[in-house]
Amino acid sequence: MTAQDTLDIQNLRLSFRNWSGSVEVLHGIDLRIARGERVALVGESGSGKSVTARIVLGTMQETPGARVSGRILFGGRDLDAMSRTERRAVRGTAMSMIFQDPTTALNPVYRIGTLVHEVLKRREPAITAEEARRRGGDILREVSIDDPERVLDSFAFQLSGGMNQRVMIAMSLINEPQLLLADEPGTALDVTVQAQTLKLMRDLVESHGTSVLFISHNLGVVREFADRIYVIYRGRIVERGPTAAIFEDPRHPYTRALLAAIPRLTGGGIPEIAERSDSFLAPMVAHEEVMG
């Protein structure tokens, strides 16, 4: 089983050293993503969901004061056993990331075409500008950009937020990564644009067979995207299971609160929900999983 998994996180802990000792923020996370599987990690701000992605990407480990323990297997390989150079080589090629705000994630002083070329060079250092431009045009067409030539010649600030988001998705998939880390993609965008980009991203990762770790604070956003969901609360996974099971049969008190808090299209007002409750700290609930 493990050998086929794209990502296998075991007992992941993260703590920060400070003046009085250290504070642990991740208390032993286990998370698995099978090949081609779309997994969502859902929790509130400060729950540890974004740092988990940063640890997988390998940038958290370089933060002063951060201490990471546990094992992360990426395609069966232990990420900790890799050298710094090897890890850097994985980033942007076998593993890529999409950030929340596409406009700030794209370097404003280079044209999109140059940025696409840079990304391609990470996998194929010898690639020519012409070849990069051709491949860039192809992938931009895949994210439903009708005039890729204009976009390749533009700077990020000349494009709309939705267009930048598509460019980000295109760039993150151009090297055919095995794993895509998506941290609240589209939260900074209008709802209609967000819905479009999520659908687009879903279709694309499906056709490319990319595994995805999708990070969000809103269960509603991941319902139509994820195969499986992990709910995280204060550095612990509190419930995990197939998407349908989480929505139809949420068992952990925190998951229930998270679901109840989302305003319903069918109306009924805003329910009274406790912000903190001892029951949120109850042990993890794992749903039966049917794995292919």
């Binding site: 509130e44 701000s45 937020g161 209008d190 709802v191 209609t192 644009v193 967000q194 819905a195 479009q196 604070h217 809103n218 269960l219 509603g220 956003v221 319902r223 139509e224 929505f247 609160a257 998270l258 679901l259 109840a260 808090a261 989302i262 305003p263 319903r264 299209l265 069918t266 109306g267 009924g268 007002g269 805003i270 329910p271 009274e272 929900i273 912000e275």
Partner: protein, 270 residues
Amino acid sequence: MTSEPILSVIDVTKRFTVGQRVVTAVDGVSFDVAEGECLAVVGESGSGKSTIANMILGLYPPSEGSLIFRGRDLPERRTLELRRQIQLVQQNPLSSLNPRRSIAASLRLALDVHGYGAPAERPGIIEDLLAEVGLDPHLARRSPAGLSGGQRQRVAIARALACRSDLIVLDEPTSALDVIVQARVLRLLEELRRAHGLTYIFITHDLSVVRNVADRVAVFQRGKLIEFAATARIFEDPGTEYTRSLISAIPVVSEEEAALRDSLARAGVP
């Protein structure tokens, strides 16, 4: 709701000059806001919803048309009294609250500017305000950085309420918050509206929030008001293709909602 509107927006147009170009941000918009209602203003970025709000607040005057508040024209230069009556809660309390000022000092400033209450009574008023928005009194000495996002937004709401305002413009007040915190802040806003007879202009792009808090909805697209109706009506029979597209983009959490959403989205398709 009484028959006399608290605010009337009449044929309002706002144009901005950007370099050589003239951009019409709001284009011939008219609507009434009833006393005590929660009116949702929805639309995508660039639809003109914030421009309308800024004109109501008096940050800039309309290029054409007029704004009538309680039967009187809103002047370009607002009196202190008018500024007290119309208040604002912004999206991000981290930027709307002064980071160097304690919570108590931020609230005190609002009271001092408007000369609300006798100076000796003001600390007591601040304590009551904090209690009213569900904040522990010991938080008063902290700076905004020492509070959570939800607590900060409660402070911003307390400040808008401080001098007993009548009309509050809520500009995406919960879109930066976690879902559970959002639900709690929305409930607080609803309780405060009932308790004080407040009127809200609730600017948002989240239609599932609108469904649950608003009495009426104004839909903006590219500076024009394209739909204006009771909330129930908008969600039973959306009148424009654009409103349907907004509804179709709502993330939902149950099959029942998904079915409703998809039927509404399809309603206009021949």
